[in-house]
Assembly symmetry: C2
Homo-oligomer: 410 residues x 2
Amino acid sequence: MDLTPLWSARANAMKASEIRELLKLTENPEVISFAGGLPNPQSFPVEEVHEATQRVFRDHAQRAFQYSTTEGVSELRESVADYLHASQAMDVHPDDVLITNGSQQGLDLLGRTLLDAGDTVVTSNPTYLGALQALSYYGAKYAGVDSDGDGLLPDALDDTLKGLAARGVRPKFLYAVPTFQNPSGTCIPEARRRRILDIAHEHDLLIVEDDPYGRLRFDGDPVPTLHSLDKGGDRVLYLGTFSKILVPGFRLAWTAGPSELVRKMVVSKQSIDLCTNAFTQFIAADMLQNGIIEKHLPEIIRLYKGKRDVMLGAMDEHFPKEGVHWTRSRGGMFTWAEMPDGVNTVEMLEETVRRNVAYVPGKPFFPDPEQGFNTMRLNFTHASDDNIKVGIERLAGVMVETMERQKALA
Amino acid sequence: MDLTPLWSARANAMKASEIRELLKLTENPEVISFAGGLPNPQSFPVEEVHEATQRVFRDHAQRAFQYSTTEGVSELRESVADYLHASQAMDVHPDDVLITNGSQQGLDLLGRTLLDAGDTVVTSNPTYLGALQALSYYGAKYAGVDSDGDGLLPDALDDTLKGLAARGVRPKFLYAVPTFQNPSGTCIPEARRRRILDIAHEHDLLIVEDDPYGRLRFDGDPVPTLHSLDKGGDRVLYLGTFSKILVPGFRLAWTAGPSELVRKMVVSKQSIDLCTNAFTQFIAADMLQNGIIEKHLPEIIRLYKGKRDVMLGAMDEHFPKEGVHWTRSRGGMFTWAEMPDGVNTVEMLEETVRRNVAYVPGKPFFPDPEQGFNTMRLNFTHASDDNIKVGIERLAGVMVETMERQKALA
């Protein structure tokens, strides 16, 4: 039958992304990909998960196989609250923790709960693409705030909020990835975090702190989360995940923050999928309770720090010295490069993929469709060290040629 | 901070359901509950799952711990297609199978993909409450079609579709649970299924066949699914689940049908949660491939058939003979009782819970808010045999008293 007349308006507007089509080419095993955001399988604590799974079969099989409550298994909600307190001095009550099917579901629930079509969300330029995708479904408009090597600029945030207020617009929330941001790799320093919180307080602005990478710090001292710096304790909704500190295949994340907001998200989740996988919730709870995740974390950090060093070393060696800048990420999974104005990294990707290397063009990470043409995100956690060296050298070759062509045209 | 001004229109309209509040009382372990829709933990093949899990650790740990594709792990999609063919003569290509986080997510994705606010969905009276909840979020309106002990009435369906057409309304789809329906327990016979398909063909109507209980048949011969009877092969989207034939805690289900529709649902799922739990996908694929689910199914059927017999026996013994009718379900998890007009089972639940028994009032299963006051759904799979007997006797006592009061008032 012809389904065309049946699509919803939003399904009708869906189209295959040009970039996604290009990146399909990277599934070719010849291609060295810096495009994904995948943890390295070497970081997975297979033996430890196996042992925890055995304990779950022994002690919790019947509950682990049954539907759980929509909020999540109580043992896991308590363990997450304990973990946040022990590792990051965050005060969260287990009742205010919602277990989600990955952080992406937290973002979707946030859209359901807070956004009507045309509502404004404040983000940095650039920001996490997956958040833009989740929130745009609900008709979000974006007020983008510029950032520098230390992340979101507080003065620019203040200006944006004043400008919105002058137009009678109250934004629903600020969406931020303050620590080792995806895509830029930047980390907002503590003093700047305090300024952002003060500004949010002045404008009565809700903050959504998405923190998948905070624990993956290679250098320097930890910076407190916005949630822990928020003295009122009810202005920041915090999203955390097991995908980067344990394994992504469990699809386990959490949302913690203002009780009333978490409760509304729970009601929304009921009609979306009833509850999150109970079996892996019990495994994750066991691994938190027994300190296994905390004990394993240094191994992930050692692995990723090494790869970050290999990538930055290769970039230093091969990337053009003039007109190209990149983030020296102190943690997380990404570095971010800016080429001279006029370069279009979406167009450049085609040639790059022909030489069997891939990155993600930075453009889709900007809420403003006129920004980010000259940027790219590079993942350093997944490729082998040798492939990182080879891939960066090949990519640098395409960059040099593109910039020379660009100069010749100018 | 005051979050009240921030809620979306739909979050604002959310309120705690009156029935849900009443059912919270049933968490008291003293209460014998026929209210839930939970599989019996005795039906869980714990040892078999354990063995399959060991094989996954041995053979697939790295992929099982990584993100999967949004469509699902290829081994599982292939196994599901094979399973549907072997068990129910259904022709489904693995590419047209989408693995979802429970069937509830399939229903949510369906709403995203097909519904704009005000669009019409055809359902039977009554129908599955979870579908109404999922679809109502997207602003569905319902055209309810009456049913009898053999399910949806084809003539009434035809009349409804003609009436809609006369008003220029094209419904987006028919939502049906043809086999051992939740809530009524009815199963549509093959001849009636063929009539329904003919009518759907005449009106160019898409059918969504939700089939969680089809394999849980206690008596009589299997009836072909609508999907397998649809000779064109592209009019029926089929939803199946591992929750009732394996374990619900894995949150694994599938949607199979028209390629274009499945592809749109995949794109929607990307922004909702990226992908379904890969670890349990590998476990389920192993158990399908090795025939373990098929081998275990008779044990579930034996357990539930026994409980169905205990419940129907107790109903025969204790329920009032005049004015009360109930389904003699030949499979699934529920029976359904109708009391005389004028009885309100929502009101009656309060007294019933005081006597430590619970059921779900039938009203929320009717899309029309003026129907179903005198109905109730009774689950027979979860309580112990002794508790079924005691609970049905207590419930019958409340029914008799309610009907006597009702008569005295008349």
